[in-house]
């Protein structure tokens, strides 16, 4: 997927984690999800991540590639395997489970 199609690319310095957040316009759910994601990443991934925010209203053709049905959907492209997390990410525990960060979080503790 060419980078030009991405609406926003945050913290591109480290590719250990590539997270794509699919939204459709600036809906409250999208805004909440984005805020939650930034918070969780900052808390748990330090600098090792990159967030790509994709607005499907602007790039509807991108929905097909990652099999997006629900909005918002967070896709963990890297590290493999691909994981999908849907919803506004307000349940931090489940986001961590979904991102396979639970063990990491436990280790940190």
């Amino acid at each position: 997927m060419p980078a030009a199609n991405l609406t926003k690319i945050l913290k591109p310095q480290n590719d250990a984690w590539v997270l794509r957040l699919y939204v459709a316009g600036q809906t409250p759910k999208s805004v909440t999800a984005f805020a939650n994601l930034k918070r969780i990443c900052a808390e748990h991934l330090a600098d090792k991540y990159r967030i790509e925010l994709i607005d499907l209203l602007e790039n509807p053709q991108l929905a097909r590639g990652d099999q997006i049905v629900a909005i918002p959907t967070l896709v963990r492209n890297l590290p493999v395997p691909i994981k999908k997390i849907i919803g506004d990410l307000s349940n931090t525990e489940r986001v961590l489970v979904g991102l396979d960060l639970r063990p990491a979080a436990a280790a940190k503790r």
Binding site: N36, P60, I71, T73, G87, N91
Partner: protein, 593 residues
């Protein structure tokens, strides 16, 4: 294909006056292009609205949806979007390739978009509120990219398995259907059938405009697919279960019973192929477009009569179909050749088409459908079903009767003359035709063995024939090397004489006639003799009379002469005696005294 549709719409029961009025105000519809379905929905699916197609696994939902899109793209210039929730694009393409649909080509020509939606539950974690905007976006994008008019969501319910939180999904689906309506696309939504409900997730609550149920059931090891329109808001529709067929040409639905009996009655007569049988049938044969039943026990010549009929039709150049349920076409052709009817050339010419299928090969409905299809393909004017009784094993009497009545309906509606043979069980009453189908028939001919004098002979009579003055005679017929021939009727003291008795009677009558003729000749000769004799006598008498007459005349003349002489003498004497004149007046006779 279009032509087929047109002909089928002629049959549609909508011609009934009350319905005709209804139609004019009914919804705009989108034709599916599926044979039969457009008939029973009176035009197709509701335009710009979603239709739910539900049914259990393997009943043909996906295929029907694909056909809807393919026909839309190819025939009606309405591009379509296929959202596949279950199959991948590749699978789908392969599955319908066997029906001759090239989805890839349609996709390349921007007539079709296939979007496979894959939701893997194990990959998905729910972390809060979400909606299905992603689906909307994908669908919207696909629709806009080719300006689609048709959409299929197959099977949308599977998102319930892929995504958590059903309550959100329900709300979203409701929104989706509303959104589809707003988009103005005609949509098909498919759903798996649930326990006691039409769909597992109760989709029928959301899709309220049109619901079609597909069913696939097996009875006595014979499977039949059926389609039923559960609901069609704002439109009349056929409510029955209609069988449908999936074959190499896709789906065809069979709208069987037309509601009204409104067949046109032709007054055209066509020959039965047997001249003297035509004579029995009011002198001209069957009416075109009627149904004819010939019943009899085994070996009475039913098939031969059928072959005659077909042969006659082919001679007139009319396409025929011969549905053989017990014999192979080759066997029939060979057997008929033995009585001088050669059907082979007609088959070669393409006028006659045999269709030999074991009755148990399909269910009743499938047979019916096959017949429909074949008849439409060949434009047949004459159809033979030989024997119709083979179908009885396939269902109960009611089913068989309803199938037959639908079949007959169909034939009549298309002005096809149908010839059925019915095998009667030995021992049962001949008049008892197996499934009570005789009442559906216009002409009923019975063939039977007549047993007498230690031999069996074949008898034929017309039990009924609507609309014509048919013969009430029982006629004997024989097989000759040029087909069936009805022979003359001989009545003996014990009724109609048949076989050798007839032959004996024939000979006897011949002998009697000869005798009578000889007697007559003898009498005539006698008369002539007598006349001659009489004339000879008359001549003799006349000759005798002539001679007598001559003599008498001679006498008379002599006498007159003598008398004259005497008178002169007397006068001379009187003169000499000077007698007075008065004595001259005395008669001659007294002269001598």
């Amino acid at each position: 294909m279009k032509k087929l549709l047109n002909t089928s719409s002629n049959v549609s029961p909508l011609r009934a006056p009350n319905n005709g009025k209804y139609r004019s105000i009914s919804l705009p519809k989108t034709p599916t292009g599926i044979r039969g379905l457009d008939e029973i929905t009176f035009g197709g699916l509701p335009k710009g609205r979603p239709t739910l197609i539900c049914g259990s696994a393997g009943c043909g939902k996906t295929l029907l949806s694909v056909e809807f899109l393919v026909h839309g793209a190819t025939k009606y210039d309405e591009p379509g979007v296929f959202m596949a929730f279950e199959e991948t694009e590749e699978d789908l393409r392969k599955n319908v390739a066997s029906l001759g649909y090239d989805l890839k080509d349609l996709c390349d020509r921007k007539k079709l978009v296939i979007d496979h939606i894959h939701i893997e539950r194990s990959e998905i974690e729910e972390t809060g509120e979400y909606d299905l905007e992603g689906l909307f976006v994908r669908l919207g994008y696909a629709i806009d990219s080719i300006v689609a008019k048709r959409v299929v969501l197959d099977t949308i319910e599977s998102i319930f398995a892929g995504l958590p939180n059903p309550s959100i999904l329900r709300a979203e689906l409701r929104r989706l259907f509303r959104w589809l309506k707003d988009k103005g696309v005609t949509a098909i939504v498919t759903g798996e059938r649930g326990d006691g409900t039409l769909t597992r997730q109760g989709l029928e609550e959301y899709v309220s405009d049109c619901v079609i149920l597909l069913d696939h059931r097996t009875r006595e090891q014979i499977s039949t697919r059926r389609l039923q329109i559960i609901k069609y808001r704002g439109s009349t529709h056929g409510t029955n279960e209609y069988p449908f067929l999936i074959d190499e040409h896709g789906i065809s639905v069979l709208p069987i019973t037309s509601i009204a009996l409104e067949h046109k009655a032709s007054s055209e007569r066509i020959s039965s192929g047997v001249t003297r049988l035509d004579t029995m049938l009011g002198g001209k044969g069957y009416y075109r477009g009627t149904s004819i039943l010939v019943s009899g026990i085994a070996g009475t010549g039913k098939s031969s009569l059928a072959a005659h009929f077909v042969d006659a039709a082919c001679r007139r150049g009319e396409p025929c179909i011969y549905f053989a349920t017990e014999e192979s076409p080759d066997l029939i052709v060979r057997n008929m050749r033995s009585i001088g009817i050669d059907l082979g050339p007609w088959v070669k010419k393409g006028l006659l088409r045999f269709d030999a299928t074991r009755p148990t090969f399909h269910g009743l409905e499938m047979h019916l459908l096959r017949m429909h299809k074949l008849v439409r393909e060949t434009n047949a004017r004459v159809v033979v079903v030989d024997p119709i009784t083979s179908y009885i094993s396939l269902g109960d009497t009611l089913e068989v009767k309803s199938m037959l009545s639908r079949l007959i309906d169909f034939f009549k509606a298309h002005q096809i003359t149908a010839f059925f043979t019915s095998l009667t069980e030995g021992g049962s009453a001949l008049e008892q035709s197996e499934v009570g189908i005789s009442s559906l028939m216009d002409t009923w001919i019975l063939l039977r063995h007549i047993e007498s004098n230690g031999e069996r002979n074949r008898g034929i009579w017309v039990l009924k024939s609507r609309g014509m003055a048919h013969s009430n005679q029982i006629r004997e017929f024989v097989f000759t090397d040029h087909g069936i021939e009805l022979v003359d009727v001989y009545l003996g003291s014990a009724g109609v004489l048949t076989g050798t008795a007839r032959a004996a009677q024939e000979a006897q009558e011949k002998a009697e006639a000869l005798l009578r003729r000889q007697d007559l000749q003898r009498k005539q000769r006698n008369l002539a003799h007598r006349k001659e004799a009489l004339e000879a006598k008359i001549a003799a008498l006349r000759a005798e009379f002539e001679t007598e007459k001559e003599e008498l005349e001679k006498d008379i003349i002599e006498q007159e002469h003598h008398e004259g002489v005497l008178e002169q003498d007397r006068a001379a004497m009187a003169k000499s005696r000077k007698a007075d004149a008065s004595s001259n007046n005395r008669p001659n006779g007294q002269k001598g005294e």
